[in-house]
């Protein structure tokens, strides 16, 4: 298995610990990653798309063209990148007129969208390409007794007719992955609620209150921790707990894991190899529960 690694912005520039954990975990599964040295911001599915749809599509198409040239499918670590790149891929594959328009713009940068490279989210690679069976075999430290609340995030599920990853109202693939690690997927109310990251820069109070809505329900359900598959969701729920404390005086103390970290721990990697010391809400208490 070999992919063009699309890092995006948030993970390499703000959360390198998640990149480090993911690279280490994928190496254990024998997955080969080739860095996309010529890639740029995906670009983000809200800001740039809101300014000018065509520019957004063209920059995304340029990233896809880079992977076309590499002859590899793209692996993304972020829901935002996934939504942007996959939407661009689907739009340009299905709409010939738009494809021509975008390729005209790309020609000025000596690029061409060919539609060969497919876009895959990290969870798709784990669930479909590696598979639950292989993951179960690799687990050396089953996460027995750990109640994990899975947060999928919006842009891996919706719009479902484009992304086609899982059931948009009742997703289960991340829960199955959690189960494969020996942990118990903790169900909770309103699982598909948005983390609020989309409003972080324009209306931060709402963004914090949106994150709070989910944390309240996760806490009520009695989960030990949360697992996410996107760096934006990660920041919303990890650092967000301190922002909520400032705003409403509530304290949640729910450790948040990015999926590679939880998987890495279950297959026997050390907290150091997973960069687990970088979390705002400390994870030690949860790890002790496993040992």
């Amino acid at each position: 298995m070999k992919y063009a690694l699309f890092l995006g912005c948030m993970i390499p520039l703000r959360l390198p610990n998640l990149e480090y954990a993911t690279r280490n975990v994928l190496a254990e599964f024998g997955v080969e990653l080739v860095d996309m040295r010529e890639a740029t911001c995906c670009p983000d599915p809200i800001g740039i798309r809101n300014m000018d749809y065509l520019t957004w599509l063209a920059i995304a198409a340029r990233n896809l063209a880079v992977a076309d040239e590499m002859g590899l499918d793209i692996l993304t670590l972020c829901n935002g990148c996934y939504e942007t790149l996959k939407t661009a891929y689907v739009t340009l594959t299905e709409d010939a007129e738009m494809r021509e328009k975008i390729n005209e713009i790309l020609a000025k940068a000596n690029r061409e969208f060919k539609g060969k490279a497919k876009v895959k989210h990290l969870l798709e690679v784990f669930y479909h390409d590696i598979g639950l069976q292989k993951i179960r075999e690799m687990v050396k430290r089953p996460l027995e007794g750990l109640k994990v609340a899975a947060h999928y995030g919006c842009h891996i599920l919706r719009p479902s007719e484009i992304l086609k990853f899982d059931d948009p109202e009742n997703p289960r693939k991340l829960d199955e992955l959690v189960e494969a690690l020996g942990a118990t997927p903790q169900q909770y109310e309103m699982k598909t609620l948005c983390c609020g990251a989309g409003l972080r820069n324009v209306m931060s109070e709402y963004s914090i209150r949106m994150a709070r809505e989910k944390l309240v329900r996760v806490k009520e359900a009695g989960a030990d921790c949360m697992v996410v598959a996107c760096p934006f969701c990660f920041i919303q729920y990890d650092m967000g707990q301190f922002e909520i404390r400032r705003l409403t005086k509530e304290r949640f103390d729910i450790p948040v894991f990015y999926f590679s970290e939880l998987l890495g721990y279950a297959i026997g990697l050390s907290p150091r190899e997973l960069g687990l010391g970088m979390h705002r809400v400390k994870v030690d208490r949860v790890l002790k529960k496993i040992r």
């Binding site: 912005c9 948030m10 390499p12 520039l13 703000r14 390198p16 610990n17 990149e19 480090y20 690279r23 860095d35 040295r37 010529e38 890639a39 740029t40 911001c41 670009p43 983000d44 599915p45 809200i46 800001g47 740039i48 798309r49 809101n50 300014m51 000018d52 749809y53 065509l54 520019t55 063209a58 920059i59 340029r62 713009i105 790309l106 000025k108 940068a109 000596n110 690029r111 919006c154 842009h155 919706r158 719009p159 479902s160 948009p168 109202e169 598909t192 609620l193 948005c194 609020g196 990251a197 989309g198 409003l199 820069n201 324009v202 209306m203 709402y206 209150r209 949106m210 960069g275 970088m278």
Partner: protein
């Protein structure tokens, strides 16, 4: 551009499903996806100075549940493009564009992340000057560069 969405807007049956599932609507009664659609039907220019237009978080719950497949977030994208062209765009988005045009990424690599990357032995993630030139040429063709000068 707006004629593309006019038709879609007309099929809304005002059932309110989009409002019911919307977390932002729950936090702020001034924000109603249905109301934005109806205002756009009457006169899209009324939205130019309407702050609530910028409150959608793009979670796509409304469009997923809409019985008429109105696809509010996609309509809103076109509306926001129109509003942006008429001079009203949140400063945060202008900054985002300025960053992408300058660095190729939405954020700058700060010293803390750089140190952390070195400690982990991770490669330099910064796009090359050649790559940034390509991105600039794309941004220039769209006329978006006007926001960079403002931002």
């Amino acid at each position: 551009m707006l004629s593309e969405i006019a038709e879609k807007i007309q099929i809304c049956v005002a059932c309110g499903t989009c409002v019911g599932g919307c977390l932002v609507s729950r936090l702020d009664k001034r924000f109603r996806p249905m109301r934005i659609i109806h205002t756009a039907v009457v006169d899209v220019n009324r939205l130019i100075n309407e702050p609530s237009v910028w409150l959608c978080s793009y979670c796509y719950i409304c469009s997923e549940r809409c019985p008429k497949a109105v696809e509010f977030p996609d309509i809103l994208t076109r509306l926001r493009n129109y509003i942006a062209k008429h001079g009203n765009l949140p400063a945060a988005y202008k900054m985002l564009l300025a960053n992408i045009s300058k660095h190729g990424t939405a954020l700058e690599l700060d010293e803390f992340a750089l140190m952390e990357r070195e400690e982990y032995g991770l490669p330099d993630p910064s796009p090359s000057q050649e790559t940034i030139k390509e991105i600039k040429s794309i941004i220039n063709t769209s006329g978006l560069s006007v926001f960079i000068r403002e931002g």
